[in-house]
């Protein structure tokens, strides 16, 4: 059993590695954590996700921009890929499942990839369908995985239009599923016009919104 101090040190190193986008440092800290039998879940949540939270703050305050966020996500994955096999499924976990993808006719997946990193680091199961995803694929994947939330990304006005068609298709099969939409052309007006549940203008906000929706869903079930 490792000491509290050592555990905190590793968490701190993982955080720092993500914040300062140092994939090598992240990897090394993760390797040590595994070798010494640290709690992989704690390392991921407090170390990696904790670091990503700081990244999100830096993004919000305009200190970081897309390039830094991308690099942070890289450092995050360097450690997460190692830690993942050691994460035990948590009892009573509130983390949910999402289906994520870029709309048909659109191949811009930068935003989607950042979302994926943040969600995975926070313990969510992400079913990533990639880009230029046919509408039917979203419906099928939601049904298959019984995901709580479907997240749709569109970077062009022209591909955004597909969302309007897709939402009723998903809701028809499963009225309870929540829909989050995001991307450059999407506004609050789009949300109401297309019958989505919510939008977010960046990945950290997307996570916050998803948490809220998930809590509401879980409460509804009880």
């Amino acid at each position: 059993m490792m000491t509290k101090e050592r555990e905190q040190e590793l968490i701190k190193r993982l955080q720092e590695a993500v914040i300062n986008y140092k994939p090598a440092d992240a990897k090394k800290a993760a390797e040590e954590a595994i070798a010494e039998g640290a709690d992989a879940y704690k390392m991921t949540m407090e170390g990696l996700a904790g670091g990503m939270e700081v990244v999100a703050e830096k993004f919000d305050s305009h200190e970081y921009f897309v390039p830094e966020t991308l690099l942070c996500a890289k450092a995050l994955y360097a450690a997460l890929d190692l830690l993942k096999p050691y994460i035990k499924v948590q009892e009573g976990s509130v983390r949910g499942q999402v289906v994520l993808g870029v709309m048909q006719g659109d191949v811009h997946d930068l935003g989607k990839n950042i979302i994926k990193a943040i969600f995975e680091a926070s313990g969510w199961t992400v079913h990533d369908l990639g880009r230029d995803v046919p509408l039917k694929k979203f419906v099928e994947e939601q049904m298959k995985t019984d995901s709580d939330i479907v997240m749709l990304s569109a970077m062009m006005t022209t591909s955004m239009v597909g969302i309007k068609k897709l939402i009723p298709m998903i809701k028809e099969k499963n009225p309870k599923v929540k829909i989050m939409i995001g991307g450059a052309p999407i506004t609050d007006k789009t949300v109401s016009e297309y019958g989505a549940d919510v939008t977010a203008d960046n990945a950290p906000n997307a996570l916050k919104e998803a948490m809220k929706m998930l809590e509401a869903l879980r409460k509804g079930k009880m």
């Binding site: 305009h62 200190e63 970081y64 921009f65 897309v66 390039p67 830094e68 991308l70 690099l71 048909q104 006719g105 659109d106 191949v107 811009h108 997946d109 930068l110 990839n113 880009r131 230029d132 062009m156 006005t157 022209t158 591909s159 955004m160 239009v161 052309p185 506004t187 609050d188 007006k189």
Partner: protein, 648 residues
């Protein structure tokens, strides 16, 4: 129910159905209001002031109560600027009663200083349209051959190439009268040695065509003497479709969201624009529009489809398939384009969904496919297109730069029209700025009122480069608050900004600033261009190019050094950077003057290999790295002395 709406200062008025938005009404009545974001309640450029009260002269009672109520979204956008009373966004405010609307200058689509000057072109004249003077034997009872066949016979005798001539129906209608009134001495205008398109009495040598470049933002026409290649008149205007949205995407979506009428509206708008250009050019040259016997056109793929009335929806989404690649020849009359009714409209071929006939025009003008040296051609317009290669191979791509480089999506961005800041210098010691405004030759001194209204594209690049050089911007684009300068501050929303012009120097009663979001927009745009260049180089397996050709009317105004400082393109010897002006327009002129070039254009258009950048495995990474100034890793040895050692 119908309501009266009056726009000031233009004084235009009209009746509109209840529920129409102010912007829709403005379009209907012909008042230009900025709609940069495409009516998404984002840009806030369409703010208008509602004048309240009874307007005797106009005989209406105008009130804020005659409009749909303000909602949260609109309020949020309005709150971004300290605005005075009764301001609404035209795009989302619906008319529920009579109103008088004042369109402030900042919201008007201003007359742009369009500089699409014709460049020097080299072309072997071989126009499609030729004039032949012939004297026909008069018919008699022994020789009662028909008029057309008589003309055909004579023309064939003079020129054996014209074996199977036809005649346009409009020309035919006039043939018998003209022949007899001119004593059987006529000039026949023949298109492609195949069709007679006009008959004029006597000998006429003047032969005129019009080359047109339809840009997303502006349209330029070059009235050209087909016998000499000389440009007689250059006529330009804003693309009147700007009313429907600033960029290609917003116009495509306008067609999609207004299924019944959108496409037709946009098509009619551009045709009206072409007719205006033709009319004004003809007027200036002292000819009639009927004397224009052919038109050669270049435009991007979306403009192309909309002009032809082809649904642009499918080329607007992946896999971005255009309706066709090949060039087109269509009679002017079928379009309602007012030149010679039987005249031909030649539209250059298309490379791909986002690399259109305008890019083919650039190739026709610059001819990288005929050169030994490696050319990197950058055409910067509302979108950025790149071509790389030489006579062995050419590849092209489209970079989603967005209109930020042209000044759109920038808080104080505006078009290059009077009042726009066009050049900027920042003292790296004091961090004080000095700038030049279009329409004024003197640099600002911080005291004189320069009547500045905003910042145009060339100055956006200048100011970002200068801010980086003065270390007001960090390498990652963050505004640096470590300096003690009152120009660097945070606005009331906590957003960092740099004051370029103080309130007392401006015509808009506010400081003109460059804020952190503006810098981010530029980073995205230039990152797209730079990473595009890198991926293209890699695709051809080369490390550098021999010449960098910068095309685009706006490109000509960019300062090379500033462009390289912000990292719009990879490091290279600045001597190798060549401005080739409005190459797309030059290409249209070349096509107008040579059928050989038209044939060649169709071949290159299909030969250029289109690269979809977003499909490259590592595109996001390369894009991300290229967003920093000038680049996250790449060094710029040619900027030694201008940038710090770290970057060079």
């Amino acid at each position: 129910m119908q309501h009266t709406i009056i726009f000031q200062p233009s004084g235009r008025r009209g009746q509109v159905e209840e529920g129409t938005t102010i912007l829709e009404a403005a379009r209907k009545i012909g008042v230009d209001i900025e709609a940069v974001c495409g009516e998404l309640i984002v840009c806030g450029k369409c703010r208008v002031k509602i004048m309240e009260g009874k307007f005797q002269k106009e005989d209406i009672f105008s009130s804020m109560n005659n409009l749909s109520p303000l909602d949260e979204k609109e309020e949020k956008v309005l709150l971004r600027k300290d605005s005075d009373e009764n301001i609404r966004l035209a795009c989302c405010t619906k008319i529920l009663g009579d109103v008088l609307v004042f369109v402030p200058e900042a919201s008007r689509t201003g007359k742009q200083v369009v500089s699409k000057a014709a460049g020097v072109i080299k072309v072997k004249l071989k126009p499609a349209v030729r004039k032949y003077y012939v004297e026909l034997p008069e018919p008699n009872l022994d020789d009662p051959l028909g008029d057309f066949e008589r003309l055909e016979e004579t023309l064939y005798k003079n020129n054996p190439k014209m074996k199977k001539l036809t005649i346009d129906y409009r020309a035919l209608q006039k043939l018998p009268d003209v022949l007899r009134k001119s004593d059987w001495k006529v000039t026949a205008t023949v298109w492609n040695d195949a069709e007679i398109i006009r008959i004029e009495p006597g000998q006429v040598e003047t032969s005129i065509g019009l080359a047109v470049d339809i840009g997303t933002t502006s349209v330029a026409g070059y009235l050209t003497d087909l016998n000499t290649g000389e440009v007689l008149v250059t006529e330009s205007m804003m693309n009147p479709q700007v009313r429907y949205g600033e960029d290609v995407m917003s116009r495509i979506s306008y067609c999609m969201f207004n299924e019944e009428t959108g496409l037709k509206e946009l098509q009619d708008t551009i045709i009206e624009g072409l007719n205006t250009i033709a009319k004004q050019a003809a007027h200036k040259a002292g000819i009639s529009t009927e004397d224009i016997s052919e038109m050669a056109l270049v435009c991007n793929t979306a403009m192309h489809h909309i002009l032809l009335g082809i649904n642009p929806e499918y080329m607007g989404v992946a896999p971005f398939t255009p309706a066709l690649h090949h060039s087109l020849d269509i009679k002017a009359e079928r379009f309602g384009i007012h030149i010679l009714p039987a005249g031909n409209i030649h539209i250059l071929p298309i490379e791909a969904g986002f690399v259109g006939a305008d890019n083919v025009g650039c190739l026709v003008a610059d001819k990288p496919h005929k050169r030994k040296e490696m050319t990197l051609l950058i055409d910067i317009g509302t979108n950025g297109e790149l071509v790389l290669g030489n006579k062995e191979k050419l590849i092209s791509c489209s970079c989603a730069t967005g209109p930020a480089l042209e000044g759109a999506q920038i808080e104080f961005g505006m078009r290059a029209s009077p009042g726009a800041i066009e050049r900027v210098k920042i003292d790296p010691e004091t961090l004080e700025a000095t700038y030049k405004v279009i329409g004024n030759n003197r640099w600002s001194n911080g005291e004189t009122n320069m009547l500045a209204k905003g910042i145009c594209g060339s100055a956006i690049i200048d100011v970002i480069a200068e801010m980086y050089r003065a270390r007001i911007l960090k390498k990652n684009g963050q505004i640096n608050h470590d300096h003690a300068s009152k120009r660097i501050r945070k606005n009331d929303k906590g957003l960092s900004e740099y004051v370029l012009a103080w309130r007392h120097e401006t015509a808009i009663d506010a400081d003109i600033v460059v804020n952190q979001k503006d810098v981010r927009a530029i980073q995205l745009a230039k990152g797209a261009l730079y990473s595009g260049c890198l991926i293209m180089l890699r695709k051809l397996g080369i490390k550098k190019f021999d010449r960098l050709a910068v095309a685009g009317a706006f490109g000509s105004h960019i300062d090379k050094v500033a462009a390289m400082v912000i990292g719009m393109f990879p490091d290279c010897d600045l001597k190798k950077v060549e401005y080739i002006g409005n190459a797309a327009g030059d290409g249209a002129r070349i096509a107008l003057l040579s059928t050989d070039e038209r044939r060649d254009a169709n071949i290159i258009a299909r030969k250029v290999e289109y690269v979809e950048l977003a499909l490259e495995e590592d595109f996001n990474d390369r894009f991300g790295e290229a967003m920093q100034f000038p680049h996250m890793f790449d060094k710029f040895p040619h900027l030694k002395g201008i940038l710090s050692e770290e970057d060079t």
